[in-house]
Amino acid sequence: MKTDILKKLVQNGAIWGFILLQLVFFELAGRYWAGSSTTFIDLDNLLLLLKQSAPIGIIAVGMTIVMVNGNIDLSVGAIYALCGIVLLDSLGWPMMEAMGDGAIPLAMLIALATGCVLGLINGLIVWKTGVDAFIVTLGAMLGYRGLVFMYNGEQPTSNLNWTMVDMAEWGIFGIQTPALVLLFVVLVVWLVMTRTVHGRNAYAIGDNREAAVNAGIRVGPHMLINFAVIGFLAALSAVVFYSGSGSVNPNDGMLFELWAITAVVLGGTKLTGGKGSIIGTLGGVIAIQLLRRGLNHIGADTETVNIVIGTILIVVLLLDRQLNRKASGELKV
């Protein structure tokens, strides 16, 4: 019993152990090797880290839901950019401009609704046509990106609203808005996935779709909801990020999907669905962000950063496998 608990802790804690290891390594390497004058393990620095993890983190939480459900969403990067554009552009509509700063919450709502709708479109296609989610969202990744460009040609869409920037930079105890939103999203989604019927059904569908169908679970609506949720979260991520930056490049958010998926898988979610944890995903996101910042901290150049990040991804996977190795005499299949 006790070893069981210990084993579970080791298994689920691998990602947090890795984070700890990185912290120590970058602190020491920064001090003794790169001769950096600043400390790495520092409260402000860690809070900044959390804040910077927010855009990918919020999306990764949504990705966890969809992947647990047995699907995947490759279009999140494009949804993110499109919702960013909607947010900033809608602020410039004459009607909204007339409202002054009161238009901000309205613009945010419009952006979030857009995200939901885009997610719903994906979900509806997956549900009604039966085409695999990978293909549907791979297509949407292109299609939505096309819409991003249609909105404003190849120009960035900009609308710098200092009230909104101040909102994004607001914080308590040094925790800024993006970090707060990330933590809040993690908490809520964690509750939904572990405590609600919808969450448990999502696990069941991802685990054994046929069993779920046989048990009378309506697979379609659950998938639809989950796609809407990831659309919403991609939009939320855009709202959080773009209210603080005020401008969308039409190619923003490219590769977000891959990094989000990486974080989710590092956090222990099964690619084939049915298993995964929101908290693990948070760990995965932080681990990746930490790696990037740590490498910058010790002054690694572009090629080194690329090589190291690639290698570390693989090494983490290898370690995780070593830790979760089955008992001796395991079946060699």
């Binding site: 379609g220 572009t302 090629e303 990040i309 690639g310 996977l317």
Partner: protein
Amino acid sequence: MADTAIKTFGGLLARQGILVAFILFMVGFTLWNPRFIDIDNVFGVIRSSAILGVMALGVTFVVIGGNLDLSVGSMLSFSAIVVLDLHENPAFGPALAIPAMFALTLCLGAINGFLVGYLRLNSLIVTLGMLSAIHGLTLTWSGGQNMDIADQGATWFGVFGRGTALGIPIPVLIFVALAAFLGILLAKTPFGRKVYAVGGNPTAATFSGIPRARVVFLTYLISAFCVAVAGLIQASRTMGAQNTVGQGLELEVLAAVILGGASLLGGSGTIFKTVIGVLILGFIQNGLLLAGLQFYVQFVVTWIIIILAVWLDIATKRGKLWSPIA
């Protein structure tokens, strides 16, 4: 007579929905702009699809074997940069540069294959990691500089990308020959059968005495080999390359493979269908370019066509338009 014709067509529709989608689509574009079906244009499209196509052939093996390969794009940059750099190196010259590049690219494929096949690591993450690591490697090799062949007139290196034989562009010939070879390898040989088995049910394959790790390893080697061929065509075609030439191609390649009907779960797909997938993507791009549409309209149209084509494909297979999912 007419009856059997209808029946045959019905059967074709059921088995090759994607092919039918392709034909419909070609007819549509030709009606729009007759230049579309101009022989020069067709060769042009196949020629420019050849790079993507050759890569997709290799990735088809990986996907049927039940894995993914996201590293092909950055591997393409690597092979193009390396072959150009060695070409310019007097100690190598074109005759040695090409085999050396193949050897190095195959090494990268072997790393993928070792990690996924023998160590059983998740292929998505492994190849994503390799995507990043190979990019770093390429930057280190080139020092971040573009590679160019200084004296283009003095080398026969251009033949792979620019040459023609019997009036047909060499890249097209390479693509067709490689597709035929790999198609036969996959469909007609014991190795091909093993790839399907390993992708379809790895446990049962092991229980049947199929060396699962080695089969997966070989699929990655094939993929790397195809990337090396594509890299050669690429380098020869442009006689120069940036460190990012292959960036983003991995998803395009995957789209072509999936569009052709390979299942991401492994165990299904064919080379022929992948070729169709490649051609559809190539002709969409070209058709919309000819129609004078903005590139972002292409994105949207590609989206719609991908979904319609795959939908048509599976709808004909199940005999119902709408999915039975409740």
